[in-house]
């Protein structure tokens, strides 16, 4: 289904399933960090592919990106982005030691990927249960670079199907042990064919 043809009820439905998925993901993260996590209401936006990096605060800002593919009954990508200071604070919390600058050694990379894995798994299993679909996350991959460079990888998959991206985005804010904020952006970018899987499952004929 072309993204352009989605009506407002369908967009609401996508927002709703994402809210439920993200709620589970945030609970999981909150338990690991032993901190409260605030979630923003998800935004469902359909945008031209080339505006995506701008939406993320500029193509040149340095970010840690963790990406996983969605496998099983639906296809798409999940992308988790942390601005570099937030990634650093997240690591300090996870590893119980003060990380002053972002160093991506094996342990740190593995810890960040694990966060991606936990969030994506909680998110996909909640949505999967709701829709009675099997959704499995792939192995997480990590990159640390300019936002534009990190996201163009997922755009490639999408761009084969058209020039628009449907992005379901949730911002979340956690606080670390010293009350500084950890900001993250969680995106789901379903492949065009996957939308039909979601929408028909929502109607109950999946």
């Amino acid at each position: 289904m072309p993204f352009r043809e989605l009506n407002s009820i369908q967009l609401d439905a996508l927002r709703e399933i994402s809210t439920i998925g993200m709620g589970h993901a945030a609970t999981a993260l909150s338990q690991i960090l032993e901190q409260r996590i605030d979630l923003r209401v998800p935004k469902v936006s359909i945008m031209a592919l080339d505006t995506v990096p701008q939406q993320l605060g500029g193509a040149e800002s340095l970010m840690v990106g963790i990406t996983l593919q969605i496998l099983g009954d639906a296809r798409g990508n999940i992308m988790l982005l942390f601005p570099q200071e937030s990634a650093c604070r997240l690591l300090s919390c996870l590893l119980h030691r003060e990380e002053r600058a972002l160093v991506l050694n094996e342990l740190n990379v593995s810890a960040l990927k694990e966060v991606g894995n936990i969030l994506a798994s909680a998110y996909l299993s909640a949505i999967g249960n709701l829709l009675r679909k099997t959704l499995i996350p792939s192995v997480p991959l990590l990159a640390y670079d300019m936002a534009g460079a990190v996201v163009d990888y997922v755009l490639i998959d999408l761009s084969k199907g058209g020039d628009l991206a449907l992005m379901i985005e949730t911002d979340f804010v956690a606080t670390d042990c010293t009350d500084r904020s950890i900001r993250g952006h969680f995106f789901m970018l379903p492949d065009p064919g996957t939308l039909e899987v979601f929408l028909s499952a929502l109607k109950g004929d999946g």
């Binding site: 080339d50 990096p53 670079d145 300019m146 534009g148 460079a149």
Partner: protein, 160 residues
């Protein structure tokens, strides 16, 4: 004076304009320059080539289609096709993983497609900074034909 070239966009300009493309990962920036008329173009492509029977829309999305289109537009604007020189930057593999090394990364396929398309048109490749796993921002100076490649993570700039 400086103009941004977004994903899947093609711009041509004349000296002393500066064309910029931000945050290239596996995307490829291709510049063509005619030192005689000081006309040049920059394209920010995403995919190596248009599939068979696929409508290339927008055309600059594909490396091979974009190069042909850029040559046409430059010649129409008054550039001499035989004087054109090319430079390319980008084509990285941002997410290194154990299981993609066997298959060619999309970044390298973009690079190869550009080299082939340029060779087919007898356009010399005057410089390149491609591959690796780092993002790049490029700045194309039409006054000199220089292509500045900036890597934010290493905080270094290279001139092609």
């Amino acid at each position: 004076m400086s103009e941004r070239v977004g994903i899947a966009e093609l711009r041509i300009a004349r000296a002393p304009k500066v064309l910029k493309a931000f945050g290239l990962g596996s995307c490829l920036a291709i510049t063509l320059y005619d030192p005689g008329s000081r006309l040049g173009g920059l394209v920010h492509s995403l995919l190596p080539q248009a599939g068979r029977g696929e409508l290339p829309e927008p055309p600059a999305k594909y490396v091979d289609v974009a190069i042909g289109l850029m040559v046409e537009e430059l010649v129409r604007a008054g550039a001499e096709a035989a004087r054109l020189q090319a430079k390319i930057a980008g084509g990285a593999n941002m997410f290194e993983s154990a299981y993609v090394t066997l298959v060619d990364s999309i970044g390298m396929r973009n690079v190869r497609s550009a080299r082939t398309a340029l060779a087919a048109r007898h356009i010399p490749l005057a410089g390149e900074d491609v591959g690796g796993n780092r993002g790049r921002t490029v700045e194309f100076h039409l006054a000199s034909g220089q292509l500045l490649v900036y890597c934010a993570r290493e905080n270094r700039t290279k001139t092609l």
